[in-house]
């Protein structure tokens, strides 16, 4: 009997034909969602960095 707090469900079992079918279906079409989330995240990071650099840091005066 497995840990009832972490139930092993049909969703979790790895290796049988049913899981492989669902896996193939999930991979079809490529990682569109991950690309979207990652692009959004790094776009926000870039905007943040560029904003800080040109709008906050440089206007405060030179340093050297």
């Amino acid at each position: 009997m497995s840990d009832p707090a972490y139930p092993v469900t049909r969703h979790d079992y790895a290796g049988d034909a049913e899981e492989l079918e669902r896996l193939e279906a999930a991979l079809e079409g490529g990682p569109k969602g991950a690309v979207a989330v990652s692009l959004i995240a790094v776009a926000l990071l870039m905007i943040g960095w560029l904003g800080m650099y040109f709008l906050v840091f440089l206007p405060r005066g030179t340093v050297g």
Binding site: D3, A5, R22, L23, A26
Partner: protein, 560 residues
């Protein structure tokens, strides 16, 4: 959302682990409880520190107490919580992933007790007030020698752990020739290799400069050299802390989410890139120091930009793994997979919250490393915000999740409900955001670090007061979360919690489980050579300069 009603226990074909019967059970539990005890004490001290800095009256508020507390808080969080947790998790991984007894258990116990002796020595030194040098202990400020010796013992204990991990992996490879080392163990040994490289800096500083000064053998110390040697350790140490969390992202989260790891190869590459790029970049902590040239500082900025690469790669690989899991559970469309993930499982929830904090903490880090821009933030509360968010947030929230995964296996009991675990994780996230976001703002206003009290009669400082109180509220929420974490683990030691017998190996399967791997992805020979080259490039002259053209030394300032 997964519910207990969905349970259809399906046994795997490989041998399962008998819960509560791991050989390393007591070793792991001992290490992790020591880590948690240090963590809990440090959380409470942190709340007091924020209270002391706020406009509100705090009890026992003296400079001596404040700096004792900051030293204890820093040492507990940075050296004790981390080292002991990592050691314990490593032993757990070695037995469960390699499915064989961990070699040298007697040595592991010896190292544990050595570490305990070191912790007690350092703690007593700090409490006495003769070691208020903070966890960064910059000379020429010099504490009692017992403080440093205590830290040395903890580091030596960790070196024993490193050797056991390396040996365990080598023994498994000999017994399984041509096979891929399980990713979870590969990453654990990567961490051990990185730790051995990075501790050289602080060990050299302690053995040749600081301890002789503390013993009265040197009256003078080369401060530029000591800061440079300490900086050698200072960056890769944070990756030492971070590895367990990334190990959980790659090897536990995909399984908890009900899917697979998108790419095992990228997992190995990420950990390798961390080793080679985190070690040479310690000098970026010295961007505001006079003793290094702009040329070497720019090189550091460039290399530090490269160490952001494995994190940026990880973001994609883990998000892709989440997408696979979400789609396998029925999610459709570009974002539909997010909803179908089993957020009720602590490992999944913790990973999501960790990524949210990684955005802010990592973003802050990109600003810190940007050469001249470091001048805007160095030694302000912005820096305090950055490392609390990235370490206290992203890294430590995964430590909680890892503990929640290990504990049923170690104790043979299961959590009756996921709710207190998830509540604890949410409280940690909310507390961390509430505490650290205001620090970014006040830091940009010039609020500086390591101050026992602020003079709120000054108008600029007065404007920070409300934000300091907001941070304090965040800290109180964190303390509540910390106590709830302790309580959640304690419940599994009580006989009133339900028992269970067998648990599956908690590690994720990759979409393409690795077959034969090239030696470079299954061992560290090549990477050690590359590290040596990069360290020479980044640190060779910066250290040699202190011997070629020695600067004037500073007088040792003993604290007692």
């Amino acid at each position: 959302m997964a519910t207990l009603a969905e349970t259809i226990p399906v046994p795997r074909s490989e041998p399962a682990i008998s819960a509560g019967k791991l050989q390393v059970r007591r070793l792991v539990v001992a290490h992790v409880w020591v880590a948690i005890a240090a963590f809990a004490v440090a959380c409470l001290l942190g709340v007091w520190q924020m209270w002391a800095r706020s406009p509100l009256e705090a009890p026992a508020h003296t400079a001596a107490n404040y700096f004792r507390s900051v030293t204890m808080h820093g040492v507990s969080m940075a050296y004790v919580l981390t080292t002991f947790f990592i050691m314990g998790f490593g032993y757990f991984t070695a037995e469960t992933a390699l499915k064989r007894p961990v070699p040298g258990l007697w040595l592991a116990w010896g190292a544990f007790w050595l570490g305990i002796a070191g912790v007690l020595m350092a703690a007593l030194a700090i409490i006495s007030g003769n070691a208020s040098v903070l966890f960064t202990f910059y000379p020429p400020l010099t504490a009692t020698v017992w403080f440093y010796v205590g830290l040395v013992l903890v580091v030596v204990a960790s070196w024993v752990w490193c050797l056991i991990m390396i040996f365990a992996m080598q023994a498994w490879k000999s017994a399984n020739p041509g096979q891929a080392v399980p990713l979870v163990m590969f990453a654990t040994v990567a961490n051990a290799v990185m730790w051995l490289w990075t501790t050289v800096g602080v060990a050299t500083e302690l053995l040749f400069q600081v301890i002789p000064a503390a013993l009265g053998l040197n009256g003078m110390v080369d401060v530029g050299l000591s800061r440079t040697l300490f900086s050698w350790t200072l960056h890769a140490i944070v990756y030492f802390w971070l590895f367990p969390s990334y190990i959980a992202f790659y090897t536990m989260f995909p399984r908890a989410a009900g899917g697979r790891l998108y790419s095992d190869t990228m997992g190995r590459l990420a950990f390798i890139l961390f080793i080679i790029y985190s070690l040479p970049v310690g000098l970026h902590h010295l961007l505001m120091d006079p003793e290094h040239s702009n040329g070497f500082k720019y090189l550091q900025t460039f290399l530090t930009a490269l160490v952001s690469v494995p994190t940026l790669l990880t973001i994609f690989t883990i998000t892709a793994s989440a997408e696979v899991a979400g789609r396998m559970r029925g999610g459709t469309g570009t974002f539909g997979w997010i909803k179908t993930l089993p957020w009720g499982r602590p490992m999944v929830l913790a990973t999501g919250l960790a990524f949210l904090m990684l955005f802010w903490g990592g973003g802050g880090g990109l600003i810190n490393m940007s050469y001249g821009m470091n001048a805007m933030v160095h030694n302000t509360s912005w820096v305090t915000a950055h490392f609390h968010l990235i370490f206290g947030g992203t890294v430590v929230i995964m430590y909680f999740a890892i503990a929640y995964v290990m504990w049923p296996t170690l104790t043979g009991r299961s959590f009756p409900s996921m709710r207190p675990l998830n509540v604890q994780l949410w409280l940690w996230f909310i507390g961390m955001m509430v505490m650290t976001l205001p620090w970014h703002w006040t830091g940009l206003q010039g609020q500086w670090r390591r101050i026992a009290a602020f003079d709120y009669s000054n108008p600029l400082i007065a404007s920070w007061g409300p934000w300091v109180i907001v941070s304090l509220i965040g800290g109180i929420i964190l303390a509540v979360s910390a106590l709830l974490f302790v309580w959640n683990l304690v419940t599994l030691h009580r006989s009133s919690s339900p028992r269970f017998a067998v648990v599956e190996v908690p590690y994720a399967e990759a979409v393409h489980p690795p077959g034969r791997l090239p030696a470079s992805l299954n061992g560290f020979g090549l990477w050690n050579v590359i590290v040596a080259v990069l360290m020479l490039l980044a640190y060779g002259y910066p250290i040699a300069q202190f011997f070629i053209d020695p600067p004037p030394q500073a007088v040792v300032h003993r604290l007692h």
